[in-house]
């Protein structure tokens, strides 16, 4: 809304900023609490004031969370599971993005009878509750010999991410002038040449969106991880949950907080670096349907 000529910095303006600041606090508070308490020794946490800064700063909880905390039966810390997550996320993101791009290309520039149905089915697959596929997927992974492996998880995330990546690229390419493709066809360019030389170079923004979205969703996934992974392939999120929900022994809250932040770091960093595109991508998919 335009500020009218003559409107001064009134008292309402200060109130506005105050309200916004209060909400900023609301959103930041949990993160602050986790951070602050991850540097405290355990006695301080039990003392009571979770908002207070540490009297004694210590990084022991962090090193414990990373390399020595008890996760399940092994006292390995979160490191190996961090690696598992990376090994799972990278291929899944790459594959689903590439396939999504090709799908979007076909669906917008190479129309054929029934392509609406294909797109509708792909789109619908974005919304299914994953509980519905847990049982058969477990069986199929077993049959394929992929049960409990990272490759199995990659397959799972690939399949259930295809709907989203296809949606992103399809919406993006729909706005891309078809005349350019026709002109290239007149020049004799082939299907793939058109894709690699004309569409792909202009796809920067949507590739970023797709990668960020997939990375965030797959990294943060819990359900598939807890259902299909084994010790060798357990992703970070499941490991974190094991760490914090263990009912035996002393609850080392400070280690839990450090672990949670470690788990959140990759997606937070991705978000801070490229947050604008993150939101823009969600809008493109959601608002335009």
């Amino acid at each position: 809304m335009q500020a009218m000529p003559g409107e001064r910095r009134s008292r309402w303006r200060w109130l506005l900023y105050l309200v916004l600041a209060v909400f900023a606090l609301y959103y930041l508070l949990p993160l602050y609490v986790m951070l602050v308490n991850s540097f405290k020794p355990l006695e301080e946490i039990r003392g009571g004031d979770m908002l207070a800064l540490p009297e004694l700063w210590t990084v022991a909880p962090w090193s414990s969370a990373w390399s020595s905390a008890q996760i399940g039966v092994e006292p390995t810390g979160l490191k190996p599971y961090f690696v598992n997550s990376i090994a799972m996320v990278v291929p899944a993101v790459l594959l689903s993005t590439v396939l999504g791009a090709l799908n979007g290309y076909v669906l917008t520039k190479w129309r054929f009878r029934g392509d609406g149905v294909v797109f509708a089915l792909l789109l619908l697959s974005c919304f299914i509750p994953f509980q519905i596929v847990l049982i058969p997927m477990a069986r199929v992974l077993g049959l394929l010999g992929l049960a409990g492996t990272t490759s199995g998880l990659v397959l799972v995330h690939l399949v259930y991410g295809l709907g989203f990546t296809t949606l992103f690229f399809r919406n993006y390419y729909a706005a891309f002038p078809t005349e350019l493709v026709r002109a290239a066809q007149i020049d004799g360019a082939s299907f793939f040449r058109i894709f690699f030389r004309i569409l792909l170079p202009s796809s920067g923004p949507i590739i970023v969106v797709s990668v960020i979205w997939q990375f965030t969703n797959i990294w943060n996934d819990f359900l598939f991880g807890v259902s299909f992974a084994d010790v060798d392939s357990l992703p970070m999120t499941v490991a974190l949950n094991n760490l914090v929900s263990s009912s035996t022994g002393v609850k080392e809250y400070n280690v839990h907080f450090a672990g949670a932040i470690l788990a959140a770091l990759p997606t937070l960093i991705v978000y801070v670096v490229s947050g604008r595109y993150f939101v823009r991508g969600l809008m493109a998919g959601a608002v335009k349907g």
Binding site: Q2, M4, P5, G6
Partner: protein, 386 residues
């Protein structure tokens, strides 16, 4: 209803100067058109009159009272936007009545006024519809209705016809003119289309890069352009401009350029000061035509002495009509006229000839030039030499 005064108005956006030292006046009931190319500041000026932008310098007065600092709703103005800006979720009737509703005017009175305005603009059957269900021309009328119902002192129009197709544009232009004549309202109208400016305005202000180039009646602007920019901008096709020199010859002052030598009809005192210097000749295409369109005896041969013209209303003395020969590059029939594009060396000229002139591309043609319609411009600053 009052009149509008703009006094030494200036506007800066950061370090960019959008408007500089603008002074204008519109009489009550006048129709002022602000015309100029994109980016010349005309929309900014309109927004400042409306109150959406504050002035960096200068003042705006409506009916003698300064409106500086007043909210748009308090300036007694109404505005028709380029995109119409109709409220999409309200019916046409509600759109028109929204302002009254906000002021608390009771429903029956609102109803009455809406019906009145709808009758004037012939949109009665549309009152219950939503904007999305209307055509471009209908939406435009509703936008005008919303402005009309405010009964303001000044109406502001921001390129209202740009979004319409060519045919509709001509129809709506006529409607706006009729409305103005019927209601006698004071109007400030922004457009980039010089034809709209010429047909609608009682006064035109030509703007360029934030400065007023010329203010005057359409006749002033068209026939006595203050500088080359105004001369080029108004009129289609653009005015022909030929660079040359003024020289003194035995018959008096002559203008000399590539392939032409024109005796200048006296009195030429203003031009005498340019003797021996470079000037630019300006002549519109319609004043350069084929021989068959004029009386043969009235034409003087430019290469020899001038001939006395016949006493039938033509200017006494020498060479009102002068013949020149040009090489024709292209002939373009438009239906009602034919345009001939000539090129001799560096000099191009456009002439408007009759359809049966017989002029053919690639040949030389003899064209007749009306010296009374020539303008001369100083090449250093583009100003017209009076």
């Amino acid at each position: 209803m009052g009149f509008l005064e703009i006094e030494r108005l200036g506007k800066r956006f950061g370090s960019t100067e959008a408007l500089r030292d603008i002074s204008l006046e519109v009489d009550e009931g006048g129709f002022l058109v602000l015309v100029g190319p994109s980016g010349c500041g005309k929309s900014t000026l309109l927004n400042m009159i409306a109150g959406f932008e504050a002035a960096s310098e200068g003042d705006i007065r409506i009916a003698g009272r300064s409106v500086a600092g007043l909210h748009p709703s308090k300036r007694d103005i109404a505005m028709v936007f380029q995109s119409y800006a109709l409220y999409p979720n309200m019916s046409v009737a509600d759109n028109i009545g929204f302002g009254m509703e906000t002021r608390g005017v009771p429903k029956p009175e609102r109803r009455k006024k809406i019906d009145e305005v709808a009758a004037i603009l012939q949109i009665e059957p549309l009152l219950k519809r939503r904007p999305a269900q209307l055509s471009g021309g209908q939406r435009q009328r509703v936008a005008m209705g919303r402005a009309l119902v405010r009964d303001p002192r000044v109406f502001l129009f921001d390129e209202p016809l740009s979004n319409l197709d060519a045919r509709l544009r001509v129809d709506m232009r006529t409607e706006i003119k009729k409305l103005h004549q019927r209601l006698g309202t004071t109007i400030v109208y922004v457009t980039h289309d010089q034809i709209e400016a010429m047909t609608l305005a009682t006064r035109i202000a030509v703007l360029r890069a934030g400065e007023v180039q010329q203010i005057g009646t359409p006749d002033d602007i068209y026939n006595r352009p203050a500088n080359t920019f105004v001369a080029d901008f108004m009129g289609s096709p653009a005015m022909n401009r030929v660079g040359g020199r003024i020289e003194r010859a035995e018959e008096g002052l002559v203008f000399v350029a590539e392939g032409m030598r024109l005796a200048l009809p006296p009195p030429g005192e203003a031009l005498a000061a340019y003797e021996g210097r470079a000037v630019e000749l300006g002549i519109r295409a319609e004043d350069l035509t084929d021989r068959g369109g004029v009386h043969a005896e009235a034409i003087a041969n430019p290469m020899t002495k001038s001939v006395e013209s016949r006493a039938d209303g033509l200017a006494a003395g020498t060479g009102r009509l002068v013949e020149i020969e040009r090489t024709v590059e292209l002939v373009e029939p438009t239906g009602s006229d034919t345009f001939v594009f000539t090129r001799d060396g560096e000099v191009s000229m456009t002439a408007r000839v009759r359809n049966d002139s017989g002029i053919v591309a690639g040949e030389r043609a003899r064209l007749v030039l009306d010296m009374r319609k020539t303008h001369f411009f100083d090449p250093s600053d583009g100003r017209r030499i009076e």
